[in-house]
């Protein structure tokens, strides 16, 4: 099932594989999407639903599955769900569901802005006797604090079991409700639910694939969780052909999440020190971050964290100074993209680096974002072409309309040309966590330089400027371990001789022993005593020994291809793959064999060559140590080793800020009221009530039409990498708006003519593409129209069009601050903007 993704259009080559499954192996492809897209065209079933109703649709499948005969009689489901998920775990009796509180969970603060999650916690047995009496190491600190084991009821009968809570929570998510709220015929919904159920089990697995169609919502995280819950209930996780696949958008968007240039995260998914929490000292930091997770593989957190800080400051990082922790910045609030621009518009941000991104087109409420740029003192842009962002002071719509004047904009702008991928060496991590090396083929032209060159040489200059400082706050930059000078052999063939060594950086990411600089083959080698460095522990193994870069391996095969690149962690391609075997460690079926226990060898084996995402010697059925941490605590039947109970979470006792389970909320801007609960939208969604960012009311008569933004195959995101290319510009030359003939007739809009789309944030014009691929929905008896706009265009380049994000608004998911770009409201009319015909 493809949902929240237009796979054939946005990931055409990945779509090769599901299509192969369809043509060669008879797989059924289903596409659930408001529009009939090129993906729908190739799928067996297309199910149109109103944008933003995914949780209801998926929740109804959950309800259908757990009340079905097959699910309740086939022993496979019970074995998988009782043992590999937290269905049997008992939840705090204080917990109140949305059914009890009409759309909110227990724990909502009095101002309604945040949840306290104490009532969502597990019921636990008594705390074990600690394995250590005196804490000498960080690990000892964790051993002192191991909690009691969660209580369970394997019969799933107890009303406090996660399973019973879920059953109750989703019992009103019925096919009738789907028809009423999603606008999708009951018959089509049932077809999808039945197909998923019938194609899951011992012999068969089903996969759910999504992309930003799910993430860009005020309930984005919860939509994905619903899918994960469904897959866990269907026994589709950790098994070949199963899972929930995220299709990500950029070449190494996965890499830049793993090795985060994201405000809240350090490389390897260590949380950024956060002044809002108790992270004052390094010990505080470790206790705050690691204690709740110590009974998972995160029990090794101290080793990862020390190795990270050691990598930052090298010799200057010592046990005595907590490895330089005190000099590391702490976050104090949400510093993500949207707040960044809010604060930029307020003048808080003076200097801005924009590297290969184009917020002038791609940013939500792009007009707001462009105007914020004008408040900067200086801005550095690195890109291939003169992006809209880099030219905001020159010819943006605001300059053309006279709203801003070039002469008044004091921003000093630097455009530094960037090297193309083919012109530099480095690694990308693809959407399947696969790290692949691309080689340098030639020098970039003129002054163009690699991004690494820029950052490295900026760092060198800054270190020179701060070399003589003795101030505390310059300690970090002064003591930064910053040596990626190339070996002569690395630059011998090239004009640019000061290109830093990407290999040395990757080696540091991988990790090595500080003393003799020997690369570490696995993260199991990391130490908490400062003897190892590792920039991002999850990547350890990519350089398994000096000179051996596993991202460079290029021997594929017909299945897992373990010798092509390197899949973090530890070359494991299918995560949690211990779940591909039953309780006894035997494959669920011959057809779905992946990882299983070899009793003779006393080890788990994977003939496909996939990395085993489990302790290889931990026998199935073996009990965990109640007072241990990490693998010691986990039993032989706990495949989900990154969860502190080793189970897949149907119910999230913590970690998600807007509820332990997903509930259907309407999009922040919606033409209809929530028909499921009294609570209209996500109560804790992030909003910015500021000038230039007006919101539409629910069922606002001025903006009755649902709008969705998306991409097409022929262009890439904000178009910087596609609209300048004649080959791509001519394939999709101009911004267009997809609109149903029904709505077009109502508004007098003709195909290929100009039409105007309007929100309280702005109005834009687009060519109308009147097509029956768009359709009106009947929601609770009322007709709701939907229009769609691909957002690739801007006022520069060989293919021009208005900026679609001038329409969108700053509103975001509370967990990750991803904006709601997939659904908001608007109005449309015939003719060009400004009233011209």
């Amino acid at each position: 099932m493809i949902m929240g993704s237009n796979m054939a259009e946005c990931h055409p080559v990945a779509f090769r594989w599901p299509l192969k499954a369809k043509t060669d192996h008879g797989a059924v492809l289903m596409h659930v999407d408001p529009r009939f897209t090129r993906t729908s065209a190739l799928c067996d079933i297309h199910v149109p639903i109103r944008a933003g109703t995914d949780i209801l649709f998926l929740g109804a499948i959950i309800n259908h599955v757990i009340t079905s005969r097959r699910w309740n009689t086939d022993p496979f489901f019970k074995e998988y769900v009782v043992n590999y998920t937290n269905a049997a775990t008992l939840v705090n009796p204080d917990f109140k569901d949305t059914e009890d509180l009409n759309g909110i969970y227990s724990g909502l603060s009095s101002d309604g802005k945040a949840y306290a999650n104490e009532s969502w916690s597990y019921q636990r047995g008594p705390k074990p006797t600690p394995a250590v009496t005196e804490a000498k190491t960080f690990t000892d600190l964790l051993l002192e604090r191991v909690p009691g084991r969660p209580k369970t009821d394997p019969t799933l009968k107890n009303p406090h079991t996660v399973f019973q809570i879920i059953r109750k929570h989703y019992h009103r998510y019925t096919p009738e409700m789907v028809e009423k709220v999603c606008g999708c015929p009951k018959k089509k919904f049932l077809k999808v639910a039945e197909t998923l159920l019938n194609n899951s089990g011992r012999d068969k697995t089903s996969n759910i694939t999504y992309a930003v169609g799910w993430t860009q919502h005020t309930v984005g995280v919860q939509i994905i969780r619903t899918a994960a819950m469904l897959q866990a209930l269907l026994g589709n996780i950790g098994r070949p052909g199963g899972g929930v696949l995220a299709l990500r958008g950029h070449a190494t968007i996965q890499g830049s999440t793993d090795i985060a240039t994201l405000y809240q995260s350090l490389p390897g998914y260590l949380n950024m020190p956060d002044a809002r929490k108790n992270t004052e000292t390094f010990k505080d930091y470790i206790l705050t971050e690691a204690v709740p997770l110590s009974t998972s593989y995160w029990g090794n957190f101290p080793k990862f964290a020390v190795s990270y800080f050691k990598a930052q400051y090298g010799d200057a990082a010592t046990k005595e100074n907590d490895y330089g922790y005190d000099y590391h910045p702490k976050i104090t609030a949400d510093h993500s993209h949207l707040p960044m621009f809010v604060h930029m518009s307020e003048g808080q941000i003076k200097g801005f680096f924009v590297m290969g991104q184009n917020p002038g087109v791609g940013g939500q409420n792009a007009r707001f974002q462009r105007k914020a740029l004008a408040k900067l003192d200086w801005m550095v842009v690195r890109d291939f072409y003169e992006t809209e962002t880099s030219a905001f002071w020159k010819n943006s719509p605001e300059i053309r309309s006279g709203e801003l004047k070039s002469a008044d904009i004091k921003t000093e702008v630097f455009f530094l040309p960037a090297a193309a991928v083919a012109e530099m060496e480095g690694t990308f991590t693809n959407t399947q966590r696969l790290i692949q090396q691309h080689e340098k083929s030639t020098d970039p032209p003129g002054d163009a330089r690699s991004d690494l060159w820029f950052t490295y040489h900026l760092g060198k200059r800054l270190r020179k400027l701060y070399a003589s400082s003795t101030k505390d706050h310059d300690w970090a930059i002064k003591n930064l371990y910053w040596n990626y000078e190339p070996e002569p052999s690395e630059v011998a063939d090239y004009r640019i001789k000061d290109e830093p060594s990407a290999y040395k950086v990757l080696k540091e990411i991988n990790g090595y022993t500080w003393e003799d600089k020997k690369p570490l083959p696995t993260f199991a080698n990391l130490k908490e005593d400062g003897s190892t460095v590792s920039g991002a522990w999850i990547y350890t193994g990519v350089i398994s020994e000096e000179g051996v870069n596993n991202a460079r391996r290029r021997r594929g095969d017909n299945w897992i291809s373990p010798n092509w690149g390197f899949a973090w962690p530890a070359n494991r391609h299918i995560m949690y793959n211990r779940a591909s075997a039953d309780l006894a460690g035997k494959p669920w079926s011959k057809k779905k064999k992946l990882v299983y226990w070899d009793p003779k060898a006393g080890t788990w084996v994977a003939p496909s060559g996939d990395g085993i995402d489990f302790l290889p010697t931990k026998a199935p059925g073996s009990r965990g140590k109640d007072n241990g941490i990490g693998f010691d605590w986990l039993s032989g039947n706990d495949p989900f080793i990154m969860r502190p109970d080793g189970k897949s979470w149907l119910f999230a006792p913590f970690g998600i800020v807007d509820g332990p389970m997903p509930a259907h909320y309407e999009p922040y801007e919606s033409p209809v009221a929530n028909l499921v609960y009294r609570q209209q939208a996500n109560p804790v969604a992030k909003t910015w009530f500021i000038e230039g960012n007006p919101y539409h009311k629910v069922a606002d008569p001025r903006y009755p039409i649902v709008i969705s933004t998306y991409r097409v195959t022929e262009h890439h995101l904000s178009g910087t990498m596609s609209r300048w290319l004649p080959w791509l510009a001519e394939l999709m030359p101009e911004l267009f708006c997809e609109i149903s003939p029904e709505l077009a007739a109502e508004k007098g809009i003709k195909n290929a003519d100009y039409m105007t789309i309007e929100t309280a944030r702005g109005e834009i014009q687009a060519r109308a593409l009147v097509t029956r691929r768009m359709q009106p929905f009947t929601i609770n008896g009322k007709t709701v129209h939907e229009v769609g706009l691909p957002w690739h265009w801007g006022w520069q380049a060989r293919a021009e069009g208005d900026v679609v994000n001038n329409l969108s608004v700053l509103v975001a998911d509370p967990n990750v601050t991803i904006h709601e770009g997939k659904v908001f409201t608007c109005n449309v009319r015939a003719g060009k903007r400004g009233g011209a015909a």
Partner: protein, 272 residues
């Protein structure tokens, strides 16, 4: 043996990778007709939006040797909903109208069966253009000659497949020996028929003496803009010539009669 391509439109996603891959390998620019000058821009800007589904390049041209068609088949209630795609190019006919029409032997068939325009021979008379029943071959003002798909002549003579087939993400375009491709096509057609796609058909086994680039269509060929019964124009050459000669005889006879009054009788007709 003849090389060719099989285009299985049932698995085409309309992504247009073939169009770009073709341009990349053959160094074809963006079609100049798709771009125009815009005030304050030092470069030309594309303006070829058509509103015809996702098809903006409309036809094959001297710079577009491939073209993906988009056919939307939806009824009002959307109970019938189908979006068909098909990637079109030169079909490398076994009886090629363009080759037959070329007065200078610029258009030749190579040992691999592909119909190839020799750019250094072509004089740009453009007669091959209307001679193609598929509207494939096109004239370039820039080179003064005609251009079309070469079946990647350079690649196939170096043991490679065509650029479009190589790029095609779903394998909708496959390159190989025509005989092998036909086997593959027959199998695929049988499978689709078995699944209930009654209208599925293979286009190109018999048309124009057999097409080395042939198609599996999900609907009638005309739905995809292909002639249902293409005629290679030169098949009519003899009849057309005969009628014209006959007319010449008629005119000559008429002249004889007109001028006969005081003329001597001569058997002029016989000589003609």
């Amino acid at each position: 043996m003849a090389k060719g391509m099989f285009v299985d439109t049932s698995i085409c996603t309309g992504c247009k990778a073939c169009q770009v891959a073709c341009k990349e390998w053959n160094s074809l620019p963006g079609d100049p007709a798709h771009f125009r000058r815009v005030p304050d821009r030092p470069y030309r800007v594309a303006f070829n939006f058509t509103g015809d589904s996702y098809d903006n390049t409309v036809k094959l041209s001297a710079t577009d040797w491939r073209h993906v068609r988009f056919i939307e088949q939806f009824n009002e209630s959307r109970s019938e909903a189908r979006w068909l795609f098909s990637s079109d190019s030169c079909k490398h006919c076994n009886d090629a109208g363009c080759l037959n029409a070329c007065p200078v032997k610029a258009i030749v068939r190579t040992d691999m069966g592909n119909v190839f325009v020799q750019q250094d021979v072509c004089i740009g008379c453009k007669y091959c253009i209307p001679a193609c029943p598929y509207g494939v071959i096109s004239f370039s003002e820039k080179t003064g000659t005609v251009h079309k798909c070469t079946l990647c002549n350079d690649r196939i003579h170096n043991g490679l497949g065509t650029a479009c087939a190589k790029a095609c993400p779903t394998g909708s375009i496959s390159f190989g020996e025509v005989a092998d491709l036909r086997k593959k096509a027959d199998a695929r057609l049988a499978r689709l028929k078995g699944l209930g796609f009654e209208k599925a058909n293979i286009y190109g086994y018999n048309e124009a003496g057999g097409l080395n680039v042939f198609y599996l269509f999900m609907d009638r060929p005309s739905v995809y803009g292909q002639p249902e019964a293409p005629v290679v124009p030169q098949q009519r050459l003899m009849s057309s010539t005969a009628v014209t000669v006959a007319s010449a005889v008629v005119v000559a006879a008429a002249a004889m009669i007109s001028f006969r009054e005081r003329g001597e009788k001569k058997k002029e007709e016989v000589k003609l």
